[in-house]
Amino acid sequence: MRISQLLVGAGPGDAVTGAALRLRDALRRIASSSIYAVHIHPALRSDVVDLHRFPLDGSPEDVVIVHVSIGEPGFVDFVANCPERVVLCYHNITPARFFEPTEPAFAARVRAGRWELRTLAAVADGAIADSRFNASDLEAIGMSGVEVAAPPLDLDRLLGTEPDAATVAELEGCSGPVVLWVGQVLPHKRPDLAVDALHLLNVNHQPDARLYLAGRYTSPVWSSALVRHVESLKLPNARVLGSVSDSQLAALYRGADALLITSEHEGFCVPVVEAFAFGLPVVARAYGAIGETAAGAAMVLPQEAGAPELCEALARVLTDDAVRVDLVSRGHERAAELTSETTLVGFLRSLARVLEPDGGRSHP
């Protein structure tokens, strides 16, 4: 039996790619397994194969796991013509409304992705969603029997990464508390709100608090506007880092005092779990699957919370020892539920249920 995984794009540091790699290594113990993608970052050429090299001698005994997070021309037709059994692994597709004002081309791709999801749902033999929130998307287009399983995580890898010495030294030199923000610079992640919250925190509570924003400049428009926004507010305590290496990220998690998530749409939110594992309290808002992922271990504010509420929440977490200790303890417990082993086993069990002769299925 061959179990292949298909991705639209594969890149280092990407949560979906990371989950696919973990899954591939596990699946290779029982079957031939490779990852295929349309767009492959050069650093992953040895791990991920071009989709045009996908073997065409598959049979219904074989399985194709299709990771869905964005649209791609031709991808759905390819999947629809696979003789293999198809299992969707749904990581959510961010709604186009976030991108329409500044990233119209990207908006078109995610809009197409939503349409393509209907076709994928029609040809799939079953689906696994990262969260209940994601499962509801699939159920809304008529799928039933959707399995819910956290993506295969690898927290141990980041925990075991040697922290970058320069970043450690910089953080140790900070006189005040350090707030960390992690995510790609994209409209729905709302990094601007994190900068605003820091501005209010500096003015009203802790003048020496610092903010580090770590994440790829995926949207050039938003990235440059973010840098200019920081300059415009005259915030020397905010640093926009762009992409960071694993060792830099490990140093940031180790050296920070809290993680701030301002995102307005998340299908799972891996940084929340990473922060738990590193013993960081988390402040976020109740969008998408964030509350579900945090499972009561983070300070999750209501959706309407703005910069003042985020500022007050940060001030509380950074100064109230009892709250901080409690959140860290809860976070450790939650991270212990989402270890490399438990997430992998949970996902594989869901996969096995989907592949049972009477399991999954579900055509809308």
């Binding site: 061959r2 004002p101 009203n204 790829r216 428009v221 938003w222 440059s224 929440a313 409690d326």
Partner: protein, 418 residues
């Protein structure tokens, strides 16, 4: 958990604190709108991608431009009589290198302002520079450094001595050598593309004997590999006889076979035989995931480089204590060449046991065993005289020597343990 806080209560207190701060003017009315409006203003500023796109356009143009033009090498010399030698060699070299030096010079001259443009962009603190451009810059700087170094070397070549030019001619000869190697590789590729109009499985019956015979021949090997520390991979599984032996012993096993008809036959027999290339299958296998890798009459079909890659990959893919088993025709027996080796048109070349052992040890296999199999029937060997005369003793000794050289075992089997 002890001393837990009521998070709902804390959230309510946070909300109340923000509301109180709003009411007291700490967060004055319009503050949030002002902050958002500043960010919206930044979003409306000219799109920095225009500059990046312009840069990319220039880089693309530069890469696509054909800066080559034919130029002759300088032929002056301060050495008496040197000019004549220069002219003679330069005529040949100049034709070959097509003004390479000039081209590099022009390319560098065009490239430098582009890089300087990128640097300007990087120095502008208000500008966002996409990761890709930074990587592009790094790569371009590397290329300029390489070009500069080549130019320096070429400068020496053209201005100093004709002997250096002669060395370039040697390089051209090397190119001819590379061409010949390419021809050989094409030949190897052509061999791999062997596509008979007949049933290759039926031919295997003729070339290698019946399936039943093979099952008897490898029973002992199957017994040994049943204790492998992981699944057994049979590369070049053929008709699946060996896989069947392993399956009969309850060992997890699968095979790779390049011939579609054989794959189909193996699957129909209930065996896990996959269509594909053995080296590719090893590349895809995880580190330390296999208990044994078996290649029975396979390596004589491979090119030298394929065999080397296979041996190296096998070491990584085997679990500790795992077996690499290779059986192949014995090139130390002349009988093999007369009767068996060239019977199969897809054989590439024989593999000498001394070379194979050397390569295995270089790849990190410390334990290597040999087994010599399938000796030619005694009826085909030279008959030894049976009287006790001195002449008969000499004849018998000579016959034994000839028998050893000509009628040695037809195959040898190497078992290397990781």
């Amino acid at each position: 958990m002890t001393d837990t806080t009521d998070l709902d209560q804390v959230l309510e207190e946070v909300r109340a604190a923000a509301e109180a701060a709003r009411a007291s003017g700490v967060y004055p009315e319009g503050l949030e709108e002002a902050l958002q409006s500043d960010f919206a203003r930044q979003l409306r500023r000219p799109d920095p991608r225009e500059r990046i796109l312009h840069l990319r356009h220039e880089l693309d143009r530069l890469n696509a431009a054909d800066h080559f033009r034919r130029a002759s090498a300088p032929t002056t010399s301060s050495v008496p009589g040197g000019s004549a030698a220069h002219k003679a060699v330069a005529k040949v070299v100049g034709r070959q290198i097509e003004g390479l030096s000039d081209r590099m010079q022009e390319f560098s001259q065009d490239l430098l302002p582009v890089i300087s443009h990128v640097v300007d962009g990087l120095q502008d603190p208000r500008s966002h520079i996409h990761d890709d451009i930074v990587h592009e810059l790094d790569s371009m700087q590397d290329r300029v450094a390489g070009l500069q170094s080549t130019l320096d070397r070429l400068g020496v070549t053209f201005s100093e001595t004709a002997s250096v030019m002669a060395r370039m001619l040697d390089h051209l000869n090397e190119l001819d050598g590379i061409g010949a190697r390419l021809d050989r590789l094409e030949e190897a590729e052509r061999r791999r593309g062997f596509d008979p109009f007949f049933d290759y499985g039926a031919f295997e019956d003729v070339a290698r004997g019946s399936s039943e015979g093979i099952a008897l021949e490898y029973g002992d090997l199957a017994d040994r590999l049943a204790a492998s520390p992981g699944p057994v991979l049979d590369i070049g599984a053929g008709r699946g006889e060996f896989l069947q032996l392993m399956a009969d012993r309850g060992t997890t096993c699968w095979g790779i076979e390049i011939d579609e008809q054989l794959v189909r036959a193996g699957r129909e027999a209930g065996l896990d035989v996959r269509l594909g290339d053995g080296v590719e299958a090893l590349r895809e296998a995880s580190f330390g995931s296999l208990g044994a890798i078996v290649l029975l009459h396979v390596i004589e079909h491979l090119t030298v480089n394929e065999l080397m890659e296979l041996v190296q990959l096998s070491r990584d893919r085997l679990a500790p204590g795992g077996f690499l088993v290779m059986e192949t025709p014995n090139p130390q027996s002349l009988y093999v060449f007369a009767r068996a080796f060239w019977l199969d048109p897809t054989h590439s070349k024989p593999v000498h046991p001394v070379y194979l052992e050397f390569m295995l040890r270089q790849a990190g296999y410390d334990h290597v065993e040999y087994d010599w199999t399938a000796a030619p029937d005694e009826s085909e060997q030279l008959i030894l005289p049976d009287d006790d005369s001195p002449l008969a003793a000499v004849v018998a000794e000579n016959a034994r020597r000839v028998n050893a050289l000509v009628f040695g075992a037809q195959n040898y089997r190497v078992v290397a343990i990781r």
